[in-house]
Symmetry: C2
Subunit: 345 residues, 2 copies
């Protein structure tokens, strides 16, 4: 994130301005994370700590803090942002069990180190803790938002599982999966932050929409990069989606435009899981032939544009009497949207 290039005028879009604006509150979130993963059972903080220490962008709690900031902040924002990160961490632990992943953010996964059983249970623990934190905000509407988002995440994951191995899946089904499994939590995180800070309904709805579009852009890029970045640059194994027979946008594009021979290749690999040496390189070459990565990036850019447009509605609402803090936040969120659809290689 903190590349030197952010100091030059033609810098690639970056999360750095958003991170800088919210650094003080994020420190409190990090402290709260440590505090609330405590347990008399030592394995809980050990395993949760391994996951959470690995870092990551902390994009979801940032959205909650930003949402609250748009309405002047709230004493409950830090607790709520912690809850959002716990929900996300719980889904990561369970995802790694399901995908049998061995590497996440460049480190061994918790299930690789402690086993699947521990990952399932500590995921459950973090999820329960998230709800305890939300109860402390005293805001039922926020609880409703995030419990609904949690249910939809699992529906997205289950649908993803049921379409895995079906290379002829259409784009709508893919978009439905990523909306549920990723974008809805981005949306709920931002909207819940605005709501707990007492924003009006227009701002809450716009925050929701911003998060939703940003989440779509983010997931499409993540999926596209799985075919185009080295493992080192990704911090996870590149090609994982291919080997997991996951259906993502580059594949849908290349399959849709593909020849019979190419479709047979996709059917043998993604469809039947009968992989041979060199298949991933072949897959990348076919994707290249149809410009599938760049076309996916273009799709992500559309969502990023819609996210930025959602910010305009917030700017309108806060036009009179807008503080410089809110202006800075809106600028940082706008850059975050461009960042979400920016190629990293």
């Amino acid at each position: 994130m903190n590349t030197a290039s952010t100091n030059t005028p033609q810098a690639a879009p970056s999360l750095a301005p958003l991170v800088a604006l919210l650094a003080g509150e994020m420190e409190k979130v990090n402290a709260r994370i440590i505090e609330r993963m405590a347990s008399d059972v030592p394995l809980v903080p050990e395993l949760a700590g391994h996951l959470i220490a690995a870092g990551g962008k902390r994009l979801r709690p940032l959205l909650t803090l930003a949402g609250a900031g748009l309405a002047g902040g709230s004493p409950h924002a830090v607790g709520l942002a912690t809850a959002v990160e716990f929900i996300h961490s719980a889904t990561l632990l369970h995802d790694d069990v399901i995908d049998e992943s061995k590497l996440r953010r460049g480190r061994d996964t918790a299930n690789a180190l402690w086993g699947n059983d521990a990952s399932v249970l500590v995921g459950d623990f973090l999820f329960a803790r998230a709800f305890e934190l939300m109860v402390e905000t005293g805001n039922l509407s926020v609880l409703g938002r995030l419990s609904n988002a949690s249910a939809r995440i699992t529906e997205g994951e289950i649908k993803q599982m049921t379409i895995a191995g079906v290379p002829g899946t259409n784009a709508d089904d893919y978009l439905d999966v990523i909306r549920n499994k990723t974008a809805i939590l981005f949306a709920a995180a931002a909207a819940a932050g605005a709501e707990v800070a007492g924003a009006n309904q227009t701002v809450i709805d716009a925050a929701h929409n911003y998060g939703l579009q940003l989440g779509m852009a983010f997931q499409i890029m993540d999926d596209a990069m799985d075919y185009s970045l080295s493992s080192e640059a990704m911090g996870k194994n590149s090609g994982d989606d291919f080997l997991d027979q996951k259906i993502t946008l580059p594949l849908i594009i290349a399959y849709g435009d593909g020849t019979d021979a190419e479709r047979n290749f996709w059917q043998r690999t993604i469809g039947e899981g009968a992989f041979a040496d060199g298949d991933f390189d072949t897959a990348c070459r076919i994707l290249d032939r149809y410009d599938a990565i760049d076309r996916s990036v273009t799709e992500a850019e559309k969502y990023a544009g819609a996210a930025a447009a959602a910010l305009d509605r917030i700017a309108d609402q806060t036009n009179t009497g807008r503080t410089s803090a809110i202006t800075a936040l809106l600028d940082a969120l706008s850059e975050a949207a461009r960042f979400a659809a920016h190629r990293q290689n």
Copy 2:
């Protein structure tokens, strides 16, 4: 449950009176369960339906309805009881994944039929749905109770996992495990029912205590019966705890009083998982030598007695102007406590 013997004066204690009193509301709970496990993703209701159709005693939602009944009932009792059953169902799905169980209540487990991945995700879905249902009650205190209970369930399960395979575990650690993994949800279920119906604090606390003691009795009996009932009578594989190297009270008793040779046997089997043909029969014979099942039942009876005593506090509170409905509920709950510590063979 509905044995003919409940009609005779010397009848074994039974859940039947409690079930009969709450039958109308339980029908609504069952309808709400079907309604709220609906999803656009067909696998969700399929898998959840398999688990829930298998039935079981529905003891936890019964406690919620009974708790509400003690305070004259509540329009939110049915939704809350549904939430409690969803939390329990979620933990069952995840338990079966962890224990790799193939049989529950005489049927194939969901993970045996649909795989571990689906069980993990549908468990997460039911857990999230439970929180949606709780939000609908509009009662934050109830949400706090049940989210805290959910966190403690997972702590109990994790501690159970960490003491598995350690035959020298002491009784306090075992009791701590079952308090968290089982009794706390019984307690929260009963107390949340009373609370949502507007009971005073004394009644809420007594309902909590009743559920806690009942849950302890119930789990101690369940664990004891794993060594003494046929698979047919249990509806799950008897001897599962032994093969899973789980530490339960009969083992703790027999290990504590055992000879060096017997301790070596426990160390080889429960400790190291090196099982040979006939080991389960040997285990049962050693338990018999130390009266370990009967001594476990006696322990369960103590908790059942404490549960009945908690009811007296409720009876005191509702003394003036107590309706016949509340009297009937108190009698049925008292019999349920005796039932919990009653040997089924």
